[in-house]
Symmetry: C2
DNA sequence: GTCTATACGTAGATAGAC
DNA sequence: GTCTATCTACGTATAGAC
């Protein structure tokens, strides 16, 4: 029985930390912040509820960490799209593709975000992260829309309204996807009616 | 001191019942089902929490009544649009107008619905109402989209995907409106960037 | 019809054993 | 590092007074 080294301990710590976050995402996505119990997360992560308090100071802290990660991921798409080479339309298309793929592949992340957006009762820090990263995505989209209008690729009109509409559509698709997940969790044989990039972009296309 | 008549008592009952529902809508819209305490509703309705149990059997019962009313209201628009005279496009336009107006004028109703859609933790009956009325709206929209396609007014393509996209857009607009309400509750001087009917309909227009 | 006081359950968080 | 036992607080729902 050799004692664990410092590195091994650190590795265990990191693993547990990650386990809690993963379990938290799954549970918060389904139930929302208030309805989620620490014991739910503990059960999903296969550990005692006491152990969670060894890694996080509170339920709030777990939630904030998750919201921050989720929003950071969403903001990355926006930054990438802005910095990419190509026409404004190509970059808008790229952004839309990444967002739709994100919703398809990681609906839980979008679920927690949408939940958080509609709830007054979340921790202040979570709200701050939501605003901070959210405005980043919004501003990036607005810039691309304006550039697209100058290039004649995006329809004319109030760019704020158009950006807002596009942004709303993405959020709405996230909701629909999540609430469908709930009704038919693993339906794979059904025809694929998921929204295509070109359909979503119709709202902006000149 | 004349004793109250049966009618007067009934009137008081109805008033209280309605007070609780109104207070419930306001509170549930902000906090969601789980985070809302009975005492919150009681405070908003200016009555003791005990009295709520005189009119409703439980917190769940209050919630279900609210969800049912909200969804019923949404379904009415869809039914009206279906039965209206005029071309498919005119009726789609009518539906869209009513939905956007509903979001603008009664965001709390849409807030509770969107909250409910994204949460696993709501009462079974509320879930059932959500499904029942929701599919009514969805089916009505699908019918109009198909008729519009036959008339060449709605763009060609998978009608299910298009309906789903339009439906998602409306839900997304509801979320955006609600989460903005939260950030700047009574901002009236700002320019109006709310989404116009024609912008929303771009997603369907041929 | 309405309120206040209370019972009961349970969730968040801590302490101490291993 | 991890678990179990426990404390404390609070929310739902009821009972009984007015």
């Amino acid at each position: 029985m050799s004692p664990r080294t410092e590195e091994q301990n650190q590795k265990i710590k990191d693993e547990r930390h990650e386990q809690i976050l993963q379990a938290g995402i799954a549970v918060f996505a389904h139930k929302g912040f208030a309805a989620t119990k620490i014991t739910d997360i503990a059960a999903a992560a296969n550990m005692s509820h006491g152990l969670i308090y060894h890694y996080f100071t509170s339920k709030e802290a777990v939630y904030v960490a998750i919201i921050e990660r989720a929003m950071q991921g969403a903001a990355v798409f926006a930054t990438e799209a802005l910095e990419k080479p190509g026409t404004a339309w190509e970059r808008l298309r790229y952004l839309c593709e990444r967002q739709l793929a994100g919703i398809r592949e990681h609906p839980e992340y979008y679920a927690v975000i949408v939940q958080a957006l509609t709830s007054q009762d979340i921790p202040e820090e979570a709200h701050a992260a939501l605003q901070r990263f959210g405005s980043k995505v919004y501003m990036a989209t607005l810039t691309l829309v304006q550039q697209g209008q100058q290039a004649g690729q995006v329809v004319a009109g109030d760019p704020v309204e158009l950006t807002y509409a596009f942004y709303s559509l993405i959020q709405g698709i996230a909701i629909s996807t999540v609430s469908q997940l709930r009704v038919r969790p693993q339906e794979t044989t059904d025809n694929d009616h998921s929204i295509k990039v070109d359909t979503a972009l119709r709202i902006l296309k000149a």
